[in-house]
């Protein structure tokens, strides 16, 4: 055995021993985490397993998927998969035992809800009063979209209104550059202006 392997082994053993010693100092039973022991009342609460037993190849993956949706009752917003507390560890161990025995997701949640209430679900069920959790954000989003659409709809006419004079100004400018157009719609107006200017000149001369 190479020196590096011996060192690694010694480090792993000392870490495992240190963790067990730390638990022992805290006054906790040092129980093997992998022990697949069902609670005393699991079968009484949820009946027989509805699925096939789960083997070691998929056990950790399925346990983690369920444990990450079960709230740790002694933590602040953590799942039992994320919490380092002993309670979470023991609850996760029970989830593992239930999954291994073939209890399906619904049965696991029913068991924990029967003990802790719906509080134990990190994601509340989307039914009844809980629907508000899903409906309110969607309704707020829809309302926001409606407000934005209505607001933009009201702004558009004023934008058109500001665009129209500028177009008119450009047309006037083009007309000035081109000089008076004969036979256009402006003829009566130009005639009236010329008449007023002539009358004014006569008054000044007189």
């Amino acid at each position: 055995m190479s020196r590096a392997v011996r060192l690694g082994l010694a480090l792993a053993l000392s870490l495992a021993g240190g963790a067990a010693w730390a638990q022992s100092k805290r006054g906790e039973d040092v129980a093997p985490e992998q022990a697949l022991v069902l609670g005393p009342d699991v079968a009484q609460t949820v009946g027989a397993p509805l699925g096939p037993p789960v083997g070691p190849d998929r056990l950790e993956e399925e346990t983690h998927a369920l444990a990450s949706r079960i709230r740790c009752p002694v933590c602040q917003g953590h799942s039992i998969a994320d919490s380092p507390s002993e309670t979470a560890r023991d609850m996760k161990s029970l989830v593992r035992a239930m999954v291994a025995a073939g209890y399906v997701e619904d049965q696991v949640f029913v068991y924990f809800e029967a003990r802790y209430g719906e509080f134990i679900r990190l994601l509340p069920r989307a039914e009844g009063f809980n629907l508000l959790v899903w409906v309110i954000p969607l309704a707020a989003l829809l309302l926001g979209i409606i407000v934005v659409v209505v607001f933009l709809g009201r702004r558009r006419p004023s934008a058109v209104a500001t665009a129209v004079p500028s177009e008119a100004a450009a047309a006037r400018s083009r007309a000035r550059e081109a000089g008076p157009a004969e036979g256009s719609d402006l003829d009566p107006w130009l005639e009236a202006v010329r008449r007023e200017v002539a009358e004014e000149d006569q008054r000044q001369d007189g």
Binding site: G27, A31, A35, G39, P40, Y116, G117, F119
Partner: protein
């Protein structure tokens, strides 16, 4: 001059339509806020109250003998979950022992130790009130989980038919214990 009010518009800065839309949006939110504020954040769900107490079979600290809930049937049970590392348990335990002395002929008191070690439990019992009733060891916390224990101390009041009648989270007050024990008889 401005035109006369039109289409529910009472003036340039006030609109009934805006008021109604505002109320429709804000009133439900205020109602939800009120509901949230009127709830006690310390109150925990206790779905087992009114239901049969989960069975257990645990080793007794004193002699290692197995004790089951079934074996206690026929007499009301006060089940107290506690631990040596729990500070409120130090204040609660001497009172629980004296209450067990007073009520012991009518009610069976049982202590279940939560996440602990036998030798520490023995030392703790010697230091804080003694052994007035059986102390059981819940290895692996399965019984505590079965009862939906959030933390210690927690006390369950189980009637003679094995139905949980009440649950107290945190240390039980003396008046509370006698009142809830009275309901069991």
């Amino acid at each position: 001059m401005s035109a006369a009010p039109e289409g529910g518009r009472a003036g340039r800065g006030f609109s009934y339509k805006a008021l109604i839309i505002g109320l429709v949006v804000t009133l439900p939110l205020l109602a939800l806020l009120y509901m949230g504020l009127s709830m006690d954040p310390h109150r925990m769900d206790a779905p087992l109250v009114g239901k049969p107490a989960p069975p257990f079979e645990l080793h007794r600290l004193s002699d290692g003998q197995l004790v089951s809930l079934e074996s206690l049937r026929g007499k009301p049970v006060i089940l107290n979950f506690w631990a040596t590392w729990c500070m409120p348990c130090r204040q609660e335990h001497p009172f629980m022992v004296s209450a067990a002395k007073k009520l012991g002929d009518k009610i069976q008191f049982v202590g279940i130790v939560y996440q602990d070690k036998n030798e520490m439990v023995n030392a703790w019992l010697d230091a804080y009130g003694g052994r007035g009733y059986p102390t059981l060891i819940d290895a692996g916390t399965k019984t505590a989980i079965a009862y939906g224990v959030y933390g210690v101390p927690e006390t369950y009041f189980i009637d003679s038919q094995g139905v949980i009648r009440d649950k107290v989270v945190g240390p039980v007050r003396p008046d509370e214990l006698f009142e809830l024990a009275g309901r069991l008889q």
